[in-house]
Amino acid sequence: MDFPISGTHISPVLLITAGFIIGICGGFFGVGGSFLAGPALFSFGLPMNFVVGTDLAHIVGKSMVAARKHYRLGNVDLKLGAIMMLGTIPGVELGAQGIQYLKRHAHVNDVVAVVFIVVLVSVAAFVAWESLKSMRMGRHERKSKSLGRAGKSDVSVLSGVAKRVHLLSLPPMLEFPTAGIKRVSLWVILGVGFFGGTFSGFLGGGAGYIRMPALVYLLGVPTHVAVGTDLFEIIISAGYGTFTHAFKGNVDILVALVMHTGAAIGAQLGASLTQYFHGPRIRLAFVPLPLAGAGLILYTLLTGHRLG
């Protein structure tokens, strides 16, 4: 099938199947799936500026499905998501301006690909280390008390980091009961949002691979609530990202629409599965995915071969 906006030819069956797999991952991990969607679109032949914008568009529709499911499960802190968005949107615009700069200097494919690989490998390495340590810690805790089959409370080897972050007294201080945060500085929330938003605007997707670890490790939000809240926030920030990138000529909405038809049902199935796993196991299962994405980008960059 021809996609005249981006000037590419991609099999719609391949796009829908890729969307389905990415949707399951997105619904399960609450990270939108751009660690796979971006590399997949690049390997299908989409130029990197279109990968960034189109991925943002694709996850707007997909995140609505998964976020609604998580909301019903009680996993969304609306207040936290809404405030974080105030930092995310300026970050998205900064990232989008970065893409425009690279387009003008004809380096967008190489630079964005290399940054993507570095980010994905770094995130995978960090999450693997933290998850394994947390699971060992969790086994000791479960010997003395029962956590239940899928408790919302969570163990993390970095719990101490969140406690120190909560003690930062930069007013105004806010409370987020749904996320279990008694007090945290507004500026920390905005900083997490801005940092994640910059990655979102520059690499595409919702940058959940940045924001979800930040929610869990820096803010101490339980993993299930981090998943749901991140998905809610992505709807708004990726919506803005879609618009600004479309205005800059970086969105092939037809590619996004086709991919999303597969992602919609994948996200429903993925979100249902989170009830059966607790925090560290979800995080450990996440690790191979950004590595697979990094591998796909590296392969496409080095060989120039397209899939499908």
């Binding site: 099938m1 021809d2 996609f3 005249p4 906006i5 719609p12 829908i16 568009a57 694709h58 707007v60 529709g61 997909k62 609505m64 499905v65 609604r68 019903r72 919506g239 879609t242 618009f243 600004t244 479309a246 205005f247 800059k248 000529g249 969105v251 909405i253 037809l254 996004a256 629409l257 086709v258 999303h260 038809t261 597969g262 919609a264 049902i265 429903q268 199935l269």
Partner: protein
Amino acid sequence: MAYLLEIAAYSACVFVYFFLTLHFFGDWLKRLYDHDKLLYGLTALGLITGQGLVLESLTTALARLFRGKPK
């Protein structure tokens, strides 16, 4: 089994939707992209949001049909 039936039913709906609707959008969207980026941006957002809502309703209805109402 319920999941498989749900996916099969959904795939049939997507197949029909794709060939009756999406397949014909290419040229129209290209013209919009070339002539009015602001309107294209708003249209893109509207299309993906609208599709998201429609497909969410469809997937929820299929889940209820094949897996029953959530407790």
